[in-house]
Symmetry: C2
Subunit: 356 residues, 2 copies
């Protein structure tokens, strides 16, 4: 047990671990303090595996021309220098899987020693120390078996890995779990205001899209409409039975998308954008009814295209930046998967095709 | 009177005026049809003046090295070629002032022949024909006296210029009128859910910021806090009495901003971001209480910084893309100015310093 005597309370977002530059958030820091001794509200996790962000791994592999030893050496150097795994070129990190080793007396995370957990906060803000020189990793994949430890802050998000689901499936669900949770909240709010909404999910056959469709139905949506780009995805989504209607449309073509959604039973009261393709803002706005809501989950969303698009169309719609954090999001998404064989089948098939 | 016989109803967003490429929205079109004959839901406006978007004018003036005649020739060429004033390099347009010349029988805009109006939709989607060769313009400023006409669609936004306010003041208010209207709606929603909110406006001494502070107070906010970057702005805002508290902080420094807002009576239930400076997303999130709302009005907002920032901070906040259109927004903002001498004084001073 670490000596906790005389330690002042830590900052729930980890400001006390920032070494340089002083006063910034851990994600913006050049260097964090990854020392194993805990502040009272922290948790230390023994590492099993790092999952490097795809963009980060690609940059490293390309830079070193596929020389795995050189990739490994650079990852070790980054972690030793920065106290976290944040690729200085891409700015991105990844996540980790490990086992809880020590829990500070004031930790609010509800974890116990021995819990096997995955972090849902980025490695870019997680203090990290590697002690095995990554000897079990050949540098040839973004999956990195690792020895050492990581530190979780009071407000870090870590989730116990469920014992009834394969770890890759559970991790893939957790990766997109913000979308179904926020969709459920927006649908529930609409019902409380008096009207079960018509929900359109653009990219309804994907990972976040299929879970969002399931969440909309489970929350009491009046009707769910899945929009997909090609007939093969429409067939898969139809077969899964996750949406009341399935339509094929190019989400980048606003006029065609809005007309197709209308024919499929729209316009939408709630439109959820789950496709990582640029240029879907105007279509989502145009497919949504007056006083409806658009939730943008795609990282390809352009803020100005959304803001100026709604203004240009005189569209009185509420537009939400899809916040990946909603309390209880991981448990909610895993339960959707457990209770709906259709979601699990579609999601599993999608995972097999696009493992990352 | 134009012959309206045999005209089918127009599209409220002007799809019937798109010439090339077929099927896109007017804003995305290469060329619109600006012919004067009206569809039944349209309005024709006789031009008085175009206000070119600042970025567009700068590009043209720079390209032609300050040769006003060449700038004029290029604007004439753009409008003749495209049927609208959309700078092909910057993609931006501007707005116009004119007098209503004809109103289609099915127009929902509530305008009458002879009304002097300003358009609040961009010139990038407004059919435009120039008939005086811009003879009264020397090409030396973004204010363009112009003869000719423009077409308003069923859903275009045009506002009668008030007779009791100077036109430059009214136009400046209309330019930012979406911010106070949406702020008022969010504050009212919070009150209906049971709790008058604490409202923080970042950039509270600016045009959209000062109106948002006034809107928050008028809508029943429990407390208003204005955040400004320098002491001179704090003094001006204090003197105007528009905010219950005024604090000085760098909005790009999340830790300092959140601490300052807290000392000023925060955290916020509603945070309104009105400064056009990149990097304010994390500070706005950190200054906002759990289950609070952040409204991003700055066009410098990064969608991914907001989405990933909230996730990294495990912040359960609702984040809104500031939609510049809320029904009645212009009338609401003008009324705020009329009924609050403090707003008018601050706004007028700001306008004198930063006319565009």
């Amino acid at each position: 047990m670490t000596d906790l005597v005389n330690r002042k309370p830590g900052s729930p977002i980890g400001l006390h671990r920032v070494v340089t530059p002083a006063g910034v958030l851990p994600q913006a820091a050049e260097r964090l303090d990854p020392s194993p001794a805990l502040w009272p509200d922290e948790v230390r996790v023994r590492l099993e595996r790092l999952n490097l962000d795809a963009a980060s791994y690609r940059q490293l592999a390309t830079k070193h021309g596929g020389d795995g030893a050189a990739v490994r050496a650079e990852v070790l150097d980054i972690v030793a220098t920065r106290g976290k795994m944040q690729n200085p070129v891409t700015g991105s990190g990844g996540m980790l899987v490990g086992v809880v080793e020590e829990v500070g007396p004031d930790s609010p995370l509800g974890l116990a020693v021995g819990d096997r957990v995955a972090t849902l906060v980025s490695l870019t803000l997680t203090p990290l120390m590697i002690t095995d020189a990554l000897a079990r990793w050949d540098g040839g994949s973004e999956q990195v078996p690792a020895g050492g430890h990581a530190i979780l802050f009071g407000r870090s998000i870590a989730v116990r890995l469920p014992e009834d689901l394969p770890a890759p499936l559970a991790l893939a669900v957790m990766d997109v779990c913000g979308a179904p949770a926020l969709t459920a909240r927006v649908v529930t709010d609409a019902i409380e205001r008096g009207k079960p909404p018509i929900v359109v999910v653009i990219g309804g056959a994907g990972k976040s899209g299929s879970l969002s469709l399931a969440a909309a139905r489970a929350s009491g949506a009046a009707r769910t409409i899945g929009v997909v780009p090609v007939q093969s995805e429409a067939d898969a989504l139809e077969a899964a039975g996750l949406a009341d209607h399935v339509v094929v449309a190019d989400a980048r073509d606003p006029v065609a998308l809005a007309a197709t959604v209308r024919r499929g039973g729209g316009p939408a009261d709630v439109t959820v954008v789950c496709v990582d393709v640029p240029g879907c803002e105007h279509g989502a706005i145009l497919a949504t009814a007056d006083r409806g809501t658009v939730i943008f989950f795609s990282m390809a969303t352009s803020f100005s295209a959304a803001a100026l698009g709604a203004e240009g169309l005189a569209a009185d719609v509420t537009m939400l930046v899809g916040n990946g954090y909603v309390p209880g999001h991981a448990a909610y998404a895993l339960d959707l998967l457990r209770t709906s064989p259709d979601v699990r089948a579609l999601f599993g098939a999608r995972l097999a095709q696009h493992p990352t």
